[in-house]
Symmetry: C2
Subunit: 354 residues, 2 copies
DNA sequence: TTGTACGCGTTATCAA
DNA sequence: TTGATAACGCGTACAA
């Protein structure tokens, strides 16, 4: 790999001049400038990010720490982050923690030795480890927390409107006439899970709809979690007429359990998801879901991070991205209401076509 | 951030001694050794990977270049790679190319300035750019090509048995009695797409089953691609009784088109996918698919890369990972055969239960 | 406007 | 076994 010295020699100038040309750090006669750039081109010279980082005390890397890229919600977040980073000349170092706090701390500590411009973290569990690991270092680099809010974290955050999303889903089901609405939550030490549950319950309370404790099943954020929770819910009496799952994978597990129990969706039970994964739009039935702007979450995360890097003293930002309902075939009116509607229709002479 | 000099001073030894302790590069009296380690612990010292890389002419980073993390096949590959890397003390820098050769080349060139231990690339398109960009540098670092085989690439490769997978899918459909089998392929400049098609056609040929040109629809590797291709296939006469889609997203698009056309799967048409995404196992019907070992692909990629780093002179390896059929509800016998079977069953007095 | 020289934190070499 | 010192490639203050 060619270095500055070779460029300087071949262009017949000094090291300093080459550096000045490359960084615009001082005026250089157009004559020499051209010659340097030419040699750079010919040699295919590219400055060593290692040496540059060592010297500047900062590289163009951004550490991104997430629970698990295999969870279908995260790829969009990562992609959004990478695009925003790339557009600004930064690169992404990706780390999966599996929600293990020790792995997260280990990653954070080691990433620091690369002198990254900053780090983007989707905290594991409660996020306490995240906060501690960051505060343990005095001159800690910029850090933005994404998607989940650690308690006691004073710094930039970007989340989606989890409570609002849970509320929206519940309200939609209520409007359709459902009175027995159950929910499958993720592990409640995640701030996102508690927020979604909070929004959900508040909507029910407002509508004066009872929520018996067994109607709230805590489980894991995956298909198996949804499946097992749904198995429990389907055995309850009275059986719920709608289930709100806190993410799309869970919702798919719920749907599988419903099919296996010989019930139909949405005729017997409606299912609502959370995430709005594109792939759930290709399913049968298509899934109604609270759409999270994953790409935007990642992209905005990098944006905020870079702003903080540029101005470390600026006020902390706490952005909350709005969610949006996407309606599909997995929800409908409750069986009773549907039956009544059909009866009314018959009385009114439905079936006669114009 | 504490550095070696501080450690040395506080431990009352020289820089060299600290380095020797940390790298086991020379014997150090147990007495001093303990003191150094103690100070390291107290200060929370961690060596600067930047300085270390500059000095050693190599870092513990691995560049991973893939088309798009948003494509649901890749997260598992990335995860496998990251786990293998982490286990060996390496970190992953992730880059998405969107199958753009220029973006891939740009990434490769810039990654090199970080002096990574090596790079893992899933080549864009034909992979010509990959090969050229790598050969343009004489002392180029280790490079492993994953998933897709560039023409003229002389180096380590790891792929899955694409042709064999295509053959397996076709054979299964043939065994069930299908005679009119169509396929939706990905862009045929991808080696994986051509290989899958090749295996597919060879199985049909061997069984003396005709494959009219319109039965082969080239499309894009996503849901929309499968949908639009299926729309064409469903209008053909005679209509195919089975469709082999070259990946699971496409297969889901095909299923959506079938539903929209008022047909049933598998009663009217069988659908076979390729990937074996876990999520397609939660669908209705569950998707029959050729399972690719994505995690293993990534994990093995890093493994081979590290072996090459350790012994640059070793013979190139070209591993091909086996695929496996996963059978679901999306395939069944063709309508005619099913009807015949039903008729036979009636004649034989089916319906009388033991 | 250009060139020289130092330092970033580490490892490797060599002498003691 | 230990310590002093020279690189690695770059950016920059300062001198010319």
């Amino acid at each position: 790999m060619p270095n500055m010295k070779q460029v300087a020699r071949m262009a017949g100038v000094s090291l300093g001049t080459v550096s000045h040309v490359l960084n615009d750090s001082a005026g250089v006669r157009e004559h020499l400038r051209q010659r340097v750039l030419e040699v750079v081109e010919v040699l295919g010279y590219q400055p060593s990010q290692l040496a540059r980082g060592l010297r500047r005390d900062k590289t163009n890397m951004i550490g991104m720490i997430i629970p698990d890229i295999t969870n279908p919600f995260f790829p969009a977040v990562v992609r959004g982050a990478e695009d925003a980073a790339f557009g600004n000349g930064y690169r992404l170092v990706l780390c999966n923690t599996d929600n293990s706090e020790s792995k997260e701390v280990a990653y954070m500590n080691e990433l620091r030795t690369f002198l990254p411009a900053g780090m983007i973290v989707i905290p594991s569990n409660s996020g306490e480890a995240t906060v501690q690991a960051h505060e343990a270092v005095k001159g800690g680099s910029a850090l933005v927390c994404l998607d989940r809010l650690p308690r006691h974290w004073k710094g930039d955050t970007i989340t989606v409107a989890n409570a609002e999303g849970g509320r929206q889903a519940a309200e939609h089901l209520i409007e359709l006439g459902h009175q027995r609405i159950a929910t499958v939550t993720g592990p409640l030490h995640f701030s996102s899970a508690t927020a979604r549950l909070k929004g959900f319950t508040s909507a029910l309370k407002k509508a004066a709809i009872a929520l018996p404790p067994p109607y709230v099943q805590q489980s894991t954020f995956d298909g198996a979690g949804g499946y097992s929770a749904a198995t429990v819910l389907l055995r309850l009496t009275p059986r719920p007429t709608a289930i709100f799952a806190q993410n799309d994978l869970m919702a798919m597990g719920v749907l599988a359990a419903i099919r296996e129990a010989g019930l139909r969706c949405p005729e017997d039970i409606s299912v609502f998801g959370f995430d709005g994964l594109e792939i759930t739009n290709l399913m049968n039935p298509t899934l109604s879901s609270v759409v999270q702007p994953g790409y935007q979450l990642g992209s905005l995360g990098v944006q905020v991070l870079l702003e903080r890097v540029q101005d470390p003293g600026r006020k902390y930002t706490h952005q909350v991205l709005p969610t949006e309902l996407r309606l599909g075939g997995s929800v409908g009116p409750p069986p009773a209401a549907a039956a009544r509607a059909a009866k009314r229709a018959v009385k009114r002479g439905a079936g006669t076509r114009p």
